[in-house]
Subunit: 495 residues, 2 copies
């Protein structure tokens, strides 16, 4: 065996154990949100910290550097090169952040999250300013360490969307924002569709949600659905679990949260099994992940064709639920709300929420916006984009947990996911011409199979932009999403 072959084998053996440990840590997170006894929180924090310290030690193991050096001039397959790309990136980034800084960040964000929760409950942004200022300062320090002379915000963004830059996203959003502000304003001037009313048994919601999950291709032999406060998907390979929630007055929350998480989960479940427990065995970025959850939820799940099928399923589950036709149901499902909360926003307004956060957090990290001025900046921007003022801080700049726990660079991936979903949807519609007829019959097979074959199975083989470009047949851009939204909501709102 050559030196390079030996080094590659050693590196991948090391990585395989690390990947297995990442799965264990993920399962611990699932446990915490679903079944953990409430008195176990402090102990769990130590358990999670112990896993983190083990993983950090493995990621920065000097052996990785030596193996990578042995492989610098080696002749490698595509898969081998992709593995090295991921491992090398992780090794470089993990070594750039001093252990002491990582430790301070962990301690600070744990404290900041508690103070954020208190401030949100008290509707008191001023109370959150000191600790958020500390978080921003430390994230800037981390970003500078990661950037190694490059752009600090881009270095943070790279954690979630490798290769993306603030400048590229900014250009994309500059085209997206005015179009969406305009569409939003026109839609909200028109007559609004009637929302669903009534009470929907929680058990029946869960039963229908499970059935719809199966319809979208979720494999229950390698996963499970539980209830949790926040819907999420976790795990990889042969154990990908999702959670959802029920509100008796809003069955759409349960159903579309489930479809969204099924999109994330199917991405993980459909990755080539040969990549399991290697760096290629997981979704390649947050943006690409979100493209799958969004296309399942929106372009497929909220389509006129699929909602016609879902309308029948709803009637089978709940009887006459006060919605006279499939068309009324379609309009109810896609109704725009005049709200404040990102997570409750519809397809049109969601990206406005995201772009607002993206611009503000970029300014915070650049130091051109002081944390003390964040609330005013938020409220001014919100009124400009949404047309009405924020009523209270908990509906404004205190609504999201992200910044308190140091997630700077994360928000943008939500909209990037929507943009990717727009591109993929365009290609999907071209590739599967009788898609609507299938969706109307509740047959998601050809659509999800197209996504599995063209995107999901590749896992981490290609960089994010490349896998989207290759599946969509063109470089990612916002035009397909805009065209889709304009057409869909012009129709629904008779604009």
């Amino acid at each position: 065996m050559s030196k390079a072959t030996e080094s590659y084998a050693a590196l991948m053996a090391h990585e395989r154990i690390s990947q297995a440990l990442v799965q264990v840590a993920g399962r611990l997170g699932w446990d915490q949100e679903t079944v953990m006894p409430r008195g176990a929180a402090d102990q769990r924090a130590e358990e999670t910290g112990a896993m983190e310290s083990v993983l950090h030690a493995r990621r920065t193991d000097p052996g990785i550097g030596e193996w990578l050096a042995d492989l610098e001039t080696a002749d490698l397959t595509n898969v081998q090169s992709a593995n090295l790309r991921h491992i090398s990136r992780s090794y470089t980034r993990a070594n750039r952040v001093p252990a002491d800084l990582a430790q301070r960040l962990a301690t600070l964000t744990s404290r900041a999250q508690g103070q954020w929760a208190d401030a949100r409950e008290a509707n008191d942004f001023a109370a959150f300013v000191p600790v958020l200022s500390e978080v921003v300062a430390l994230k800037r320090e981390e970003g500078a360490a990661l950037a190694d002379g490059g752009d600090v915000y881009d270095a943070l963004l790279d954690d979630y969307e490798p290769g993306a830059t603030g400048a590229d996203l900014s250009a994309m959003f500059a085209s997206l924002r005015p179009a969406l502000v305009d569409l939003r304003a026109r839609a909200l001037e028109a007559a609004a569709p009637a929302p669903l009313t009534g009470t929907f048994d929680a058990g029946k919601q869960m039963k229908l949600a499970r059935s719809i999950a199966k319809t979208f291709g979720y494999d229950f032999k390698r996963g499970r659905i539980d209830k949790a406060v926040h819907p999420f998907s976790s795990g990889g390979g042969a154990d990908v679990r999702i959670t959802t929630r029920t509100q008796e007055d809003d069955p759409l929350n349960c159903l579309y949260s489930t479809i969204h998480e099924v999109g994330h989960a199917c991405y993980e479940q459909n990755i080539d099994a040969a990549y399991a427990l290697t760096p290629l065995g997981q979704g390649v970025s947050m943006g690409v992940h979100e493209s799958q959850s969004r296309i399942y939820e929106n372009q497929l799940g909220r389509s006129r064709a699929f909602t016609e099928y879902l309308y029948g399923q709803m009637r089978d589950s709940f009887g006459d639920f006060g919605c006279a036709s499939a068309e009324d149901f379609y309009r109810a499902v896609n109704r725009l709300n005049q709200g404040y909360i990102r997570t409750e926003a519809d397809e049109v307004q969601y990206n406005l929420h995201v772009m607002l956060r993206f611009d503000l957090e970029r300014a915070l990290i650049a130091g051109t916006l002081a944390v003390a001025d964040l609330e005013e900046a938020w409220n001014t921007r919100f009124e400009a984009d949404f047309g009405y003022p924020v009523d209270q801080a908990s509906n404004g700049c205190l609504q999201d947990v992200h910044w308190s726990v140091g997630l700077f660079g994360y928000f943008a991936t939500y909209s990037l996911g929507n943009v990717y979903a727009g591109c993929l949807n365009e290609a999907l519609c071209a590739a599967v011409p009788d898609l609507d007829a299938q969706l109307r019959g509740g047959d998601l097979g050809p659509a999800t199979e197209w996504l599995a074959q063209n995107l999901q199975r590749h896992g981490g083989l290609m960089p994010p932009r490349e896998v989207i470009t290759q599946a969509a047949g063109a470089a990612p851009n916002e035009a397909p999403l805009l065209a889709y939204l304009e057409a869909k909501f012009s129709d629904i709102y008779h604009l």
Copy 2:
């Protein structure tokens, strides 16, 4: 800070992370038995293996040896000495087993467990002989490495009951066995109490089991009860979970499995919180652990006084369930069965099952019994002790999973636990004179508080025999258990 103080702090910091990882690994085991998707088994094996490899590396870390050396002449508190005793023992044992041997054992036992399941299903001991021979050979090799010149079987036993020896146990069992064979024979000649009959709703069984768990002091804020194929208790500190099972024709299985596991769980929950995530923060041995599960289940749970309370609870849950009086219920709960299976055995016969296994496995490890001759030896001994022949291998030497997974030295701790429970019960009855009146009223408080204060809270502070001696007021011996069983079953069976 002195060198010794520094070394102690470093050692305990290292140990704390290891203990947290042990908790994580335990949670993974819980997950596997309760909620894991069935398609995840292979991946889970790798995850478990990854945790094991991390823990093994931490246990054999040369830094431990250096810290221990620094502390050899240090002036230490009781707690510090006890911590060092555990860490030193674990370090020595972990380093004695070559990594290659540990790896071969893991691979072999994983294969052997599958072959055991197949052989049991086929009732074919011969098919199990080759792989069991390999297991015995490898366990002998492991035992020799651990023994470092001492007794091989004792070295294996020490994994589960530190300080116990085959010779000591053999002497104790030599007194226990004839008395139990005799009691068993007399009881089975007498008129048998009527068993429960009828159907008992599984949901109601679980509801009652939860209520009884609370009665015995199980803290649901730091635990939870789920259903699983095999009842077990897992975890420590603030997260101690148990499982139970339901059979619609036998509510006693659910109730007494629950009380048994509650005994294990309360031991863990009642350990001094100051010992959490240190070597003292867990039950000190399998025998002491079993003493708690057994005294909760048997001396308390199957007492005439408590079954009078439980009879009322049963009637509240199931209405008239065909048992005319509390006395009939007491006799049904304590009925001896002519069976083959250890896990279904009553208080009298259980230890006969264990002693049979203890003698045979000692002979296997000593090499005085060949694996090929195991079935015949089992069947001969069974008929001698139980009075009737084994009908098939799955009811005989193929019934337990233990040997297939390399658990040699484990069985004895079940009976040792019963012996310890006998000693503790004698002391408890003396310390709490109105115990029966309390149990009749469903008040387990004083009894469980006595156990918590005198035994459970100490965790790993004292060695097994010492903690029992200190709580019971005398060195552990089989006389109290024998006296208790003789009195109880002479009464029930009118002997």
